[in-house]
Structure formats: C-alpha cells, structure tokens
C-alpha cells in the first residue's frame, strides 16, 4: 500500500518499527499533492521551505508526532507563512506569530506541510466562497467538499495529508468531513485554544482535527487540547489520553435520538444510513431511546444572528491601515476604509457583515441579538438536561450528501445545510462526524455523535466502536 494511504497512527508505528523512513513518507505525500491537487485544489499554499531531502529523522524520533505531515486550515496563524483565510483581503498577509495549536504541533514534532483552502473567513458550507478557487470533492469531480474546512477534508480524503486541522463555527469541520467520507471532531468550546485562529464568531469558533480514522482523531486531540494562558475562554482542566478510549465497546451506553431532528425533511438515503448505524449501536449493546429536544427549530435563526453579529465586529479590523489589502487611489480616510473592504471581501462575507451590523444596531439589538442569546441559553440548558440521562445524542451530520458545485445559489438554502450541526456550536458541546455509509451515487454519508461538555473521550469511544462495527473499509477515491 502506498504510504499516503496510511493513517497517522499507522505511519507512527511503522516509523517506530523502522519499517519506513520519514523522508519516504514525506515524499509520498508530496508526490500525491503534486499529482492530484491540481484537480482537488485543497491547498492554498504548501510548505515550500520543507527540504525533504535533508529531513533529519533523528530530530523527531522522540517526539509524539515523529515528524509526520499535517495540513492546517488557512485561518490558523503560522509565523511568517501566509495565512489568507482564502480572502483577497489577506492574500499577502504573513502573521508574525504562531497560533497556539501550531506551536503545540511544532512542539509535538509535527510538520505542517500546507495551508488548506476554505470558504472565505470560514463563511460558507461548500468552499465555493474561497476568493481563489473552489475545492473539489475527491469523491466526485462536480461535487463540493463541504465547508468551510473543505480544503482540509478534501486533503485528507485524497491522501494529501494523513490528518488536518479545521475550524468549526456552525459545522465547518463535521459537514465537510461527512461530505468527504472522513472523521471530523468539533471539540467542546474551550478545549482547544483559539489563539491564532482568525476569528469568525468568537463564541462559537473551535479548532478540531479531521482524519481518515478515529485513532488519528484521538492522537491529534492529545496534541491540541489543553489550557492556554493566551485564550481566556480556554478551560483549565486535565485531559485524558484520548487513545485510551479507542475501545470497541458501547455496552450500556445510553443514546438519545432527537425526534425533532428526524422530523426535518431530509434525504431518505441519509436517513436510512443513519438509522442503520443506530441499529448497529443497539445490537452492540447500547440503549437507544427517542428523546425530545426543544429549541431545535430556532437554532439556525439564532445561529445566523449571533455568528453574524460577532463577525461584523471581528471583521471590522480589516480597514487597510495596518496589514492586508489597502485600496489605492483613494481621496480620504473614509474612502480608504470603504474601498478596501469593498475590494477585499467577497459577497458572502459582506452579506454576513451587513446582517451582523443590522442585528446589533440601535433599536434592533433587543429583538435580534438579545432574543438569539435567550434561544442559545434554552438550547444549552436543553442539552445539559438531556446529558444528565444520555451519554450521546445521535443525528445525521448533514441533510444531504455532497451537492454539486454551483447547485446552491440561494444563501438560505446553503445555510440550511448546517441544520444538524449548528445546535452543537450554540451549546458549546463536542460532536464528531463519522462515515456511516454511501448513497447510490457512491457519495459518503456521515453520522453525528454529540456528547456532554468535555466528554470527547466518550465520542471517541463510540465513534471508534461504530467504525469497527460498520467496517466500511473505505477505498478513498483515486482521482483520475
């Protein structure tokens, strides 16, 4: 088997058993990028400074990640390396510092091999909103990879990196993971430092891993989870060794199936596949019950108010004064601000800034922002109550499999793609998307497992079990 098809865990073991050279691993991934990325377009930039020929394996042999390649989404700051957020605004922006997760990866001996494409400023569900080019789903040439971490999901699915980091504000890790047939975890809000993640919606954003199996998710969580003195919203607590929870055992686990989610009109093939997976959980000894959730129908509305409000403020700093794009030939300060923002931001970003500005404006704040915050509290409390009784809540990750490039032109239709994933961010809980089957077109389907705050290990154990039980043996697509 080619090295690029192997998981991070496999490669780590092979290096330890001296069955392979680190240089050969990097060669393999580099070759793979060279041969398929011109079609997939998963990367915005690859690490040109990486000198594979002179890679000293000994420098990495005592590290946790052994010098293995890792791709990261291009909204995560890398010292001296372009961090574009797939926006014209930041096309030439090089941060003077590393994000905390980047620091942690470097300290753990991981080698960042590239920065992946995304919807501009993480706003979108298809990676079509990249200012540079859309990424193509490796499972079908005319299909979107999902978004906004579409580049990360596609890179992993196409074997251009064993694992990647993404960011998830309303489903941006789980939805592309589902569309690309990989595993994606959105950790609890506060489990992974956001320092260095270019903010979209600060109270919802969270960095997390994407990989081809649950083992690699556990490995990456061991590296990136933890408190950070640079992020006040990070929680100071002890984390377990997540690889201890790679156990095929769901006996006695109580799983809730939310009625209101399944009442939504969504793809039948997705429904069947998810129901089948739930059936498998039951067979393996889990207790499965139907549960009622409140507020689900308001989640999407509340999300698009809170997220856009925060975005309107977070993206105000791109004014052309200090870094990034600055409009030329302007007459005065106001023109410089407006022209820079006019030229630098894409349509979806502008739409959300306007929405967010509107909902925070005098006279509208109470009706929109405040009300959305109340819905947020409701949803959060509802989940908290459910988790007093259930270990997991299970739903589809997305209402459909990967749609066609250019298919969804109406923003509202696009927003609806996040219907199952958004409540998780609103409640701040962790959730994982795992492949659970394919539709008749051969496109992957994902199931979403949601857990209580800071119980990622539970998600990892359940997801690992499901992976073993279903044994899908996914043959990742080799692009022609």
């Amino acid at each position: 088997m080619e090295l690029y098809k192997r998981s991070l865990t496999d490669l780590k073991n092979m290096l330890d058993e001296k069955r392979v050279k680190l240089k050969d691993i990097h060669d393999s991934f580099s070759y793979r990028i060279g041969s398929v990325d011109s079609k997939v377009k998963a990367f915005v930039n690859t690490n040109k400074d990486l000198d594979i020929e002179n890679l000293n394996e000994n420098n990495y042999k005592d590290t946790y990640l052994r010098g293995l390649p890792i791709a990261i989404k291009d909204n995560i700051s890398t010292d001296g390396i372009n961090t574009t957020c797939s926006s014209k605004m930041l096309e030439d922006y090089k941060p003077p510092y590393d994000a905390t997760v980047v620091k942690k990866i470097n300290e753990a001996g991981g080698i960042i091999t590239g920065k992946t494409n995304m919807d501009e400023y993480a706003m979108g569900s298809s990676t079509e909103n990249s200012a540079f080019y859309p990424t193509v789903n490796p499972w079908g040439e005319n299909r979107v990879p999902g978004g906004s971490s579409g580049g990360s999901a596609a890179a992993v699915a196409a074997g251009m990196a064993p694992v990647a980091l993404g960011s998830d504000t309303g489903g941006s890790i789980r939805q592309p993971a589902s569309f690309c047939g990989v595993v994606g975890l959105k950790p609890t809000y506060g489990a992974v430092s956001r320092y260095g993640l270019v903010a979209f919606a600060s109270s919802l954003d969270q960095i997390g891993p994407l990989a081809r199996n649950v083992d690699d998710i556990a490995l990456m969580m061991n590296v990136i989870a933890g408190n950070d003195e640079n992020d006040s919203t990070c929680v100071d607590r002890e984390y377990p060794d997540f690889t201890d929870y790679l156990k095929n055992d769901v006996r006695g686990m109580k799983i809730g199936i939310p009625n209101q989610y399944f009442e939504i009109d969504f793809d039948e093939e997705v429904r069947e596949s998810v129901m089948n997976a739930i059936e498998q959980f039951k067979k393996a000894g889990a207790e499965v019950e139907r549960v009622d959730v409140t507020g689900a129908e308001y989640a999407l509305a509340a999300y698009y108010i809170i997220a856009t409000a925060e975005a309107s403020s977070n993206l105000a700093r791109y004014d052309g004064v200090r870094y990034g794009l600055r409009a030329e030939n302007v007459q005065n300060l106001k023109d410089m601000f407006t022209e820079t923002r006019q030229q630098g931001f894409g349509e979806e970003v502008k739409r959300r800034i306007m929405l967010g500005t509107y909902v925070l404006s005098a006279g509208y704040y109470d009706d929109f922002y405040l009300k959305a915050q109340k819905v947020r509290t409701l949803i959060k409390n509802d989940f908290d109550e459910l988790f007093e009784e259930y270990d997991l809540i299970v739903s589809p990750t997305t209402p459909t499999t990967a749609f066609k490039i250019g298919e969804k032109m109406d923003p509202l239709e696009m927003y609806a793609a996040d219907i199952f994933t958004v409540p998780v961010n609103i409640a701040g809980i962790p959730a994982i998307s795992v492949p659970c089957g394919f539709d008749q077109k051969g496109l992957p389907i994902g199931i979403q497992l949601m857990g209580p705050h800071f119980k990622e290990e539970k998600l990892i154990q359940a997801a690992y079990s499901l992976e073993k039980i279903l044994d899908l043996d996914i043959e990742y697509p080799a692009l022609k």
Binding site: N75, I76, S77, T83, C85, L90, Y93, P95, P96, Y97, A99, R194, Y195, G196, L197, V198, A199, A201, S202, S203, E229, N230, D231, S232, T233, A309, E310, S312, S313, A316, R317, D319, V321, R322, Y323, L333, F337, T357, L360, S361, A362, Y365, Y369
Partner: protein, 482 residues
Amino acid sequence: MMDKNYETVIGLEVHVQLDTNSKIFCSCSTEFGSEPNTNTCPVCLGLPGTLPVLNKKAVDYLVMTGLALNCEIATYSKFDRKNYFYPDLPKAYQISQFDLPLAKDGFIEVETEEGTHKIGITRIHLEEDAGKLIHEGSIDKSSGSLVDYNRTGVPLAEIVSEPDIRTPVQAREYLNYLKKTLEYLGVSDCNMEEGSLRCDANISLRARGEKEFGTKVELKNMNSFKAIEKALAYEQKRQRKVIDAQEKIVQETRTWDEDKGKTISMRGKEEANDYRYFPEPDLVPLEINKEWENEIEEQLPELPAVRKKRFIEEYDLPEYDADVITDSRKLADLFEECVSEYEDAKEVSNWIMGEFLRLVNEEKMEIENTKITGHLLGKMLKMMEEGVISSKIAKTVFEEMFYTGKDPEEIVEEKGLKQISDEDKLEKLVEEIIEDNPDVIEDIRNGKDKAIGYLVGQVMKETKGKANPQMVNKMFREKINN
C-alpha cells in the same frame, strides 16, 4: 456668580490612565514617551487571531478607585465591544464596559466658598485606550497620518459623574478632588499634559426650580483643569445668551479653542455614532467576590479628607496648614516623616509650606523629585533648636539640602556655618558695636527698646549670620543697662 433665573447643570466624564506596568490585555509596557510603535505586540495591534487576556492589576486599581469614591463594587461584571472605525483603534472596536460597570453609585464631597457640595458618581468602568495619530506639521497640511500604537491597550478608568455639578468652580474642585484621591491611591499620576487624565463635560441650563434638564452640549478638548473651568464658564454664558434671545440650544459636541477662548461647534447629534455594543465574547465575565474586594480595601491608603482631619486633631495644625499639606500624598508623607523625629508640628508645617513649596514652585519640580526627606528636615530643625545654627543660616542649609540631599550637619561643617556661641568672642564684638554706636545706646537708655534689634543686626552682619542672636541680645541688655 449665581444666576437668579437659571441653574447650570454640569456632568463630567473623566478618563484616567491606570498606572499599571503592563497594558490591560497584553504584557506590553505602558511607558510614556517611548519610540513610536515599540511598545506593541500582535495582541495590542489587533492582528487577526489574537485574543485579550485581562490584567488583574487594572481590575485591582479600578476597584480601589471605586472604593475610594464610595462606589458599590459589582460582584458580577463584564466587558463589551464598542464598535467604530478609526485608524488609531486597531481592532475597530474598543473593549469597554457597557451595562455592567465594575463600580457604580458613588459620590464625593467638594468644598467651595459656597460650602460643601455632594456630587454623585454614576459609574466607573474599565476600558482600553486607543493609539495616537501623528501629523507632520498641522493636520490639514500633512501629506498623511502616522499612527503610534504605543498607547493602545493602556488601561483606562472612565469616571462618570451625575449631573450634580452646578458651577464651573465646582467642576474644577471635583477634578482636584479626583486627582488628589487617585494620586493618594497611587493608581494614576493624572497628568493632563501626558494625557493620563482627560475630561469631557456635559453642560446645560434650566430655569431655577425646573426639574427637567435643558438641552445639553458636550465639550471636548480641554487640556487643563483651568481650561475646563474656562470652557464651562464660556459655555454657560453662551447658552444663557442663546436662551435670552429666545433661541433653542442645539444638542451638539463643541470643542474648546484655548487660543480664542471659546467653544466651537464640532458635530451635531445626528452625526453621533451607533456603537453597536455587545458582550465581548473573548473574555469571560468578571466575578469579584467579597474576599477580593476586602483584600483591596485593606490596601487602601488613608484618603486626603481623613488625613487632613487627623492632622488637625493629632498635630494641632491649623485647618489651612492641614489643607495645604494633605493636598499631595508626597507632601503629607514628608510632613509625617519629619514630625516623627521633630515634635513641633507647626514649625515643620511652616518650613514645608514656606521654604519647601517656594523652592518646588520656583524650580517647577515634582515633589517626589526633590532631595529633601523628613529625616533631613527634622535634623536641621533640631540643630536650629539647639542653637547650632540660626534660623537665618537654616534657610541656607535648607536650600543646600533641597538640591543636594546632603546631611545638614555636613553642610554646616563644610561651609563653616556653625553658630557662634562662644561668649568671649561675642562679648568682644558686642563691646565694639556699643562703642561705635553711642547715639543708639543713648536712645535705648531713653526707652527706645526696639533699637536693640538694630545692634543685634550689626553683630549678625559682622558674623555673617552665625552669631547666636539670643545670646547677643542678652549681652546688649546687660551691658547697656549696667
């Protein structure tokens, strides 16, 4: 001057830089006067992806200020974003506090000629300062704007008063009180020139007895307490004229033009910003428990009003002396240090209010930069009491101590300033003077007792002030009367 028909209503908004070593949300230095953009980092420059981390010291200082101004300290408080575009604001929002300030509902009492006046403090909140625009030459001639972000993120306390101030003089006294208190607390140097204290004012007029407020005008750009007083007095008059002419006051922001001595319209109400405040998601809410509050309360120094009262009671100082000496914490500390070594408090107070403040004012020095200590002054006063030096020589010694910080004994030794108390030496001089001034002696014998002073003066002159005047006086009396 009281206006019979109209009452003036003034409220002040004071921004004070808190004197922490590092900025409010990052570890950059807050030092004033550094090279532009050297005290900056990705956080205070608002680079994408950076996050604020609250400096606890700034919270301590604000709570201290709140307690000193009789405020209620919030057990639960939070930060909010105030959104607006300006090149000196790197994130395009200022992290401030909107509806849940750290301190609220306080008051202070100011003394004016009209008596004691209580002024309410609506709220005190914590926020970050912005940077500074720099222009080559003047703002309209400069080819562009340069931005210095050194000041960005310096912690600020915004102290908002109730509209309880009725005269420009009260406004100045309110500010004096604030400045004095903050200086006592050691939380700010309140230096208006360096911008560590800034003040905006709201002023309106209403008919006496009227409950409703008149239309208010906001005043900006006053660069000293005096300017604030002048701007308010000008505005009071201007508004009065507008009202007398049966015209309407326009709600607007006006800027004080110091050179012209008048306020000029800057912008109207309709141009006011909608700041779109919302809770800052990057910071967790601030919870101050009783324990934390008590800990800060214990650190509170004795405040000026209390100290003044104690000085009057404990040291028997006249109210005027106590007022002058407690005006600054450094001065009061100097006084107390000296009194602990030299008991005559009034004498100490005389020297501090007299020679010491004279030199400080002459040299335009800050009190903390002088070399005088309470110990040195006490030692000098003791030497005077013991007759080692005369009061006249003492002034010379004091001046030397003021500039050099040398020990008074050393100064007296070096300069040969020791008082002559040698009886033989003095007797000889006295006899000479008597011989040289027969007319004066005659006058004294005829009852013109005061003329003895003239003779003593002659001896002092001969000895360059070193003779012990009491001894000389006694000798003249004995010799002339014999």
